[in-house]
Structures are given as structure tokens and as C-alpha cells.
């Protein structure tokens, strides 16, 4: 069964997993509570697969896959699922690229058609590639309008020396100015093949019918070799690193980053519970969970910093990733509080946690929070489909159904252990955003 007991009131049929002859993995989950279907197509390609000079190419390719295919004229892309009340979108991150449509069940064929076309028939018209260059640069600059996003990029780039996780998914500006249509198309052809993809269908469908349709739409796509992804091990960090930004602004921000365990490492779930102890549980759905504030008023860092008036916001972030990424803590300084005072208080609170320990009650609360968040984040066919595809693509089979079990097994000892081991100051990168008066 996909769900642990109690995760869904209705008793869903089991998750069906199969492969087409060309290597495409297909996951089907029937959910009959609403007359909707969500289709996601996942590719094992993200910014980690990009070489120097081509940063941002995966995300740009994603954009080009909304611009028409050999059988869908560009101007006809818009409207295919909208006519059924549907929504469509996509995103790219460090390990993966994905596309989705959610619409009424009558639109299933249209959704599968779009995804099959994306896999094999995108055009990459040179004029469209050029036009999209400025759209993506606009996306980059819009992000840099936000000091927290700017700080996040700089901290990530500082924390990594070797691993390609160091560069932002959207890419560095000089690369975005230089990437050619040929770069984009070569990247597309290399990674968009059935053996590197997972098709996920969740909703008001019959499994056998869906599999027949998937075969019809995708079965004819030529197979190809699964791309070899770069294997890079980040060397151990031997001393604290710092990055400081001074720019016009109104608010000071502080960010801590440590190297985090990959999702498959033994430390991952203790670290997830540690994050809940420190800043409240978020859950594990990249698509939906981080839009909702965590329960955090009794969390260790909220009580140490926000309750004491030093910070107006505290956030922690641990993502399930293929390779070790970062565990980050972000702080917004309350007006008038100097960043060094905030940093000192944050370090003291973390030292207390590491040295004096985190008690059983805090760990029990964090685990209860995580269990509740796992229920809340599976509240739609879209979110369910995301989770199935995400964990299949990023971590591998068998991980998602065990989330609750893995959280249950975390002990307070293990949480204290990862706090001491993982949050060492020698492995820390500190980022500070100092606002300059804009002169207004």
C-alpha cells in the first residue's frame, strides 16, 4: 500500500508501477474522491547536470517546452487543458525538472499528449529561444529584487566548492547571456528520453485504461541510453565561511547553512526532526508545504529569537535531495537589532541545543508535527502526484511510502547526535545582508 494507515480515509487501490518497453516508468494511483486527474512528467535533469558556462540551461529548456512542438503549434499550446478547466505548469530544481497538468478527467488524453510531445517533439525555434532569454533574465532580476533570494544564492555558492549544487537553478547572468539555441537543444535531446523520465498519473482514473493510453501516447517514442549524471563529492568543509552583502534596503537578514545529509543517508530523518525542533515542522512537499507557515511558536529558535524580540522571522529548510545539499536557517532581524547581536543570540541558542541537549518532549512534539504535516500536504491529486514523482525521481523507489515509519524511528539521542555533528561551526557558512539607506 502507498499510504500508511489513516493517511487517506478512502481505501485507495495500490500504487501501480510499470515500465513501457522504451524504458519510461509509469506510476498510476487511483483516487476517486474528486473528478480530477493530475499528470506529471518528471525528468532526471536539473541544475546539478550543468557544466560551467551552461548554468541555467535545464531551466531554460523547461521554458522552451511551453512553446510548441512538431504537432502542437505554438499558439495552440495555450488552451489545450484550459478548455477543460485545467491548469498546467512546470519547475526545475537542482535534481529534477517536471511538468504538470491538472484538469477534469475528460482531459486525460490531452494531458498525456502534451507530455508525450514535450518528451520528443519540442521545436526550439531560434527566435523563440532568443525571446525567452530576456524573459529568463527578467525572472532572475525579479528574484534579485528580493534581498533574501539574493542572499540565498550567495550563501549556496559560498557553501559549495566542487559540487554543482553551488550554482543557482536559474543560472548565472553571464551564462544566460551566452547560451545558444544549440546548447539548449543538445541538453534537451540528451536528457528528455523515456529511460530518464517518470510519468505519474493520479486521480479519477482506471489503472488499466490509463496504461493503455500511456502506451498509445508514449510507446512510439524511441528509447535511448539513460544519461550518465555527474558524480561529484563535495570535499569536507574545514572552516567557517562568510559572505556579506551590502545593498540598498530596509531590513537586515542573516542566513546559516550547513551541509545536510542526502535523503538516503541515515542522518536525514533525525535532521528533519531536528529542524522541526529548531523552527517547526514544514513537511516534505516542495510543491505545497512551504507555502504554509510551520507550527513554530514553541520551537527552540522562535522562543530564543522571535519571542525575545531579536528576529521577526525564523525559518529552517531541509529538502530531500539526491546528494548532500544544505540545511539552512534564515533570520529576519527585527528593526533596530544589529546583525551581530542576532547572530550571537542564534549561535548561543544552537550551542545550548547541541551542548545541553534537546529533550524528549521537544522531539515527540516535532514528530507529531511532522506526521500531521504529511497528512495536510497530501490533500489533492496534484500534491499526491507531486510526491510520488518527486521521490521516485530524486531518491528512488520505496522511499515515499516509508516517510511516516522513518520519522517514527527517530530517537531523541539521534537528534542530539546530528545536532552536535552536523551543526559544527567549522562546517558553517554565514550570510549577512546589510541594508544601506536608499536615500529616500
Amino acid at each position: 500500500m502507498l499510504f500508511t494507515s489513516g493517511a487517506l480515509l478512502t481505501d485507495p487501490p495500490p500504487l501501480h508501477v510499470t515500465h513501457l518497453d522504451n524504458g519510461l516508468r509509469v506510476l498510476v494511483q487511483e483516487v476517486h474522491t474528486v473528478p480530477l486527474v493530475s499528470v506529471w512528467c518528471w525528468y532526471g535533469v536539473g541544475s546539478r547536470d550543468e557544466s560551467t558556462g551552461l548554468t541555467g540551461v535545464s531551466h531554460w529548456v523547461e521554458h522552451m517546452n511551453f512553446k510548441g512542438t512538431s504537432r502542437i503549434p505554438r499558439e495552440e499550446m495555450k488552451g489545450i487543458v484550459e478548455r477543460f478547466g485545467g491548469t498546467w505548469n512546470g519547475y526545475t530544481w537542482i535534481d529534477q525538472t517536471t511538468y504538470l497538468e491538472t484538469a477534469g478527467r475528460e482531459a486525460l488524453d490531452q494531458m498525456l499528449f502534451i507530455e508525450a510531445e514535450r518528451m520528443n517533439g519540442s521545436i526550439f525555434d531560434p527566435a523563440d529561444c532568443e525571446s525567452e532569454r530576456t524573459v529568463i533574465i527578467s525572472e532572475l532580476q525579479g528574484g534579485e529584487n528580493d534581498p533574501e533570494q539574493l542572499l540565498d544564492s550567495e550563501v549556496t555558492a559560498t557553501a559549495f566548492r566542487a559540487h554543482p549544487y553551488r550554482h543557482p537553478t536559474i543560472g548565472w547572468l553571464p551564462d544566460l547571456q551566452a547560451i545558444t539555441r544549440e546548447d539548449l537543444y543538445a541538453h534537451y535531446r540528451r536528457y528528455y528520453i523515456p529511460a530518464n523520465a517518470t510519468l505519474v498519473i493520479v486521480g479519477d482514473v482506471e489503472t488499466d485504461d490509463v496504461l493503455r493510453r500511456a502506451e498509445r501516447h508514449f510507446g512510439g517514442i524511441r528509447p535511448g541510453p539513460a544519461p550518465v549524471r555527474p558524480q561529484v563529492t563535495e570535499p569536507p568543509q574545514v572552516g567557517e565561511r562568510r559572505v556579506s552583502i551590502e545593498r540598498q534596503g530596509t531590513t537586515a537578514y542573516l542566513k546559516f547553512a550547513w551541509h545536510a545529509p542526502a535523503a538516503k543517508e541515515d542522518d536525514f530523518f533525525p535532521m528533519l526532526v531536528l529542524d522541526a525542533v529548531l523552527t517547526g515542522a514544514k513537511g516534505l512537499n516542495l510543491w505545497s508545504s512551504f507555502r504554509v507557515a510551520p507550527p513554530q511558536r514553541k520551537s527552540l529558535l522562535y522562543t530564543a529569537l522571535v519571542e525575545r524580540g531579536l528576529a521577526s522571522q525564523v525559518n529552517g529548510a531541509l529538502m530531500a535531495t539526491a546528494d548532500p545539499f544544505l540545511y539552512t536557517l534564515s533570520f529576519t532581524a527585527t528593526r533596530g537589532v544589529p546583525l551581530d547581536e542576532l547572530e550571537g543570540a542564534a549561535r548561543a541558542a544552537l550551542d545550548t541545543a547541541a551542548l545541553e541537549g534537546i529533550d524528549e518532549r521537544e522531539v515527540a512534539r516535532a514528530k507529531r508535527q511532522l506526521r500531521a504535516r504529511l497528512v495536510f500536504e497530501d490533500d489533492s491529486v496534484t500534491n499526491l502526484a507531486h510526491q510520488l514523482g518527486y521521490f521516485q525521481t530524486v531518491v528512488g523507489p520505496g522511499f515515499y511510502p516509508r516517510l511516516n515509519q522513518c520519522i517514527d524511528m527517530v530517537t531523541a539521542d539521534r537528534v542530539r547526535q546530528v545536532a552536535r555533528h552536523r551543526l559544527r561551526s567549522t562546517a558553517l557558512t554565514v550570510g549577512a545582508f546589510h541594508p544601506l539607506d536608499a536615500g529616500r
Binding site: L8, E82, R297
Partner: protein
Amino acid sequence: MSATLFKGLSPHRTTLPNGAVVTVQETSMTPAVTLSAAFRPGSLLDPHGLEGLAYLMGRVLDRGTERRKADEIAEALDDRGVSLKISTNRQAVTLSCTLLSEDFDDILALLVDVVRRPVFPDEEIEKGRAEAVTTLRQNEDNPGARAADGVMKLLYTGKHPYGRPSKGTVAGVERVTRADITSFHRERIVPAALSLVIVGDVPASHALTRAALELEGWMAPVPPRVDLPPPSAGSRHVRRIAMPGKPQADIAYGFTTVRRHDPRYYAYWMMNNVLGQFGLGGRLADNIRERQGMAYYAFSTLDARPCEAPLLIRAGVDPDNVERTIEAIDHEVSTLAAGGPTSREIEESRAYLLGSLPRMLETNQSIAAFLQTSEEFSLGLDYDQRLPGLLNAVTREGVSAAAAETLDTGRAAIVVAGPEEGQG
């Protein structure tokens, strides 16, 4: 092609003797419940000079009651994985949260206690004030927020409460006293202003019984009705807000439209869909993003409001492209005003809006939002069933008339917030 057959909602609604309205919808996707308690109106009641009163009151509302200390409330919520969100906008102060079904009785009791018996401790007010000021200062550094606030000020001139930032101002928040907060709470956070919506895996009869029990005996005078004046029609006005150091400029371009109760609202809804919603952002995105490659986002929004609501067009562009973008918006706005939508656009938008109903009503949170809107504008318990008919009744002529009446570039309010210097 046909829209998904949709069973629709079956909400239970009751008005308690003290005037509070409770609406319950049972669902079964997850063993969870969403609570939404809206008190209307919200920050539009802030007195002049105290802009931010409702926002600050909301930030401190859950920091202690006659029965529970702030710490006990925090513990009760955190122990159950519940994040209580208190949001304030012009229309409402809304408390909302999602919880496991097994925690329903406890959290409902806590939520009612919070709205009914807050004590607003002085030290919590000061903490809340510092946090509120920090948030407002963050908004001052956000070109999107600055442009949107600026265009509202141009559209709703004089003392119209829609012309003020919905969360208030730093100066206003600095002036608010504890007495201001307690009197706002006494007069406005009252049962007669409350719409409590409960959606999820809880029997409706149980939810209604528990809500009635928790709200029993809470009596307060019915607050006076608030009538909003129509905004005065202005001529085209362009304002530039200099934000040095920002890589990108944000444009907000707006008009005032119609009240939610206006029968033409559905034609306006469809007009907005054609202009700046359908697909990746309607005609606006086709031009500004797809054809000219100038912006990552270009779209329009139409709010449902008790007064003449704003239609806002938004785009984020390179500072060098601001004038070209405003020209492109002018072009799309005047073209739609002059020629109306095509028949195909009308039919596509209609199909989209009809077909999106099941998606709008899929999750507990989205159903709660739908039921709150239904309650706010007295749309009825069968609104989800009537909505297809209302949308089907919209004609191309009606949408064309809405466009012609509203989309007058000579009356547009335009604000650009970005690195370039300008006249403010």
C-alpha cells in the same frame, strides 16, 4: 468537449442567536479539518492616523486569553502540528488553520477562546508592534508591493479606505495604543461580524453543535454597517517610485470596476480572464512575455469587493523596457476596449471557468475560501450549483461592454517602482 460533471458542495449553515454564522462542509480526502473564522470588515476600519490598527490587533490576538496564557496557546497548537494564521486585509481579519480531525474539538475551543477573550498583554503588543513594523519595512523594500500600494492610492483618492495600504503604515502602527486595540476588538471582533467556516472530515452535526457550544453566551452589539463611497473617476496618472539598487522595475496599472453585487460582475470576471489570466496571462502575457520577451510575469487580477473593485495589471520588467511595456499594456487595454473579445476567447474562457470548479473545490482550504466568499456576498448555499448558469449567461456583448466601460487608457492609474529616478 465537456466540463467534468461535478457533484458540488452540500454545506450546512446556521445563524446562532448572537448573529454568528457557522457553515460546515464535510469532505473525506484526508483525516483533517480546516477552520476559517472571518470577521468583516478588516483594516478599512482603521481610523485615520492609526493605519495598521487591525493588523497589529491581529498579530496580538492569539497572545493570551482570560483562560489561556500565550505560552499555553502556543503549546496547544504546536503539540498538534497546527499553525494558526491570522491575516488582515481591508475586507476581513481572518483566523485560519488546518488540523487533524482528532484535534477538532480542542482546536475549535482554542480558536473561539482566542477571538472571544483575548487580553492583549502589553509586552505582547510591543513584540507584535516590532514584528509588524519590520514586516511593513520589508514591504517598503519590495517593488511589487510599493507599485501595488501606489496604484491603489491613485485609484482610491481622498479618504477612501481602499487608498491606504491594507496592513497600514509604520507611522500608524507606531501610534496604536493598547486602548485602541481593545476598543477595536470590543466593537468589531464580535459574533455578528463572524463567519465561521468548517471544512473537512468531521460530521456536520458535530461541528455545528460544538461551534454553537463554544460561541454560546458571547453577546455584543451589532457593529454599524460600513458603506464605502464610490471612488472618484480620475484622469490618467503615472507615478514613479525610485528604488535604487533594484535590478528590475515593477509596474502596476489599474482601473476601478464594479461592486461584487453588480449583475455585470460575471462579464467583468470573464473580461479579466481574457485580458490577463487565460493560459499564462491572457492577451497581456501573449504580448509582453510571449511576443516581446520583456517580462517573466504579466497578468491582471480582478478582486471581488463590496465597493468598486480594482482591476490591476502587473508586470516585472527590465528598467529599460518600462516605456515599451506601458505601451504594450495601453495597446492591449485599448484593443480589448474597442473591439471586445473574440467569440473563441469568450468560449475558451467560459469553458475554463466552468471546468475549473472541481479544482477550486478540491481541498479543504479552497472550499473554505469559496464558502467565505459565498457568505461575504450572500451568494447562497447553492452558489456552486448556480455558478455555471451565471457564467453561461454571459454574452460576448456583455464582456465587450465591460471592457469598453472600464478599459480607458485615459483613466489608467500607473505606478512604476524601480531603480530609475522619476517624479513622485
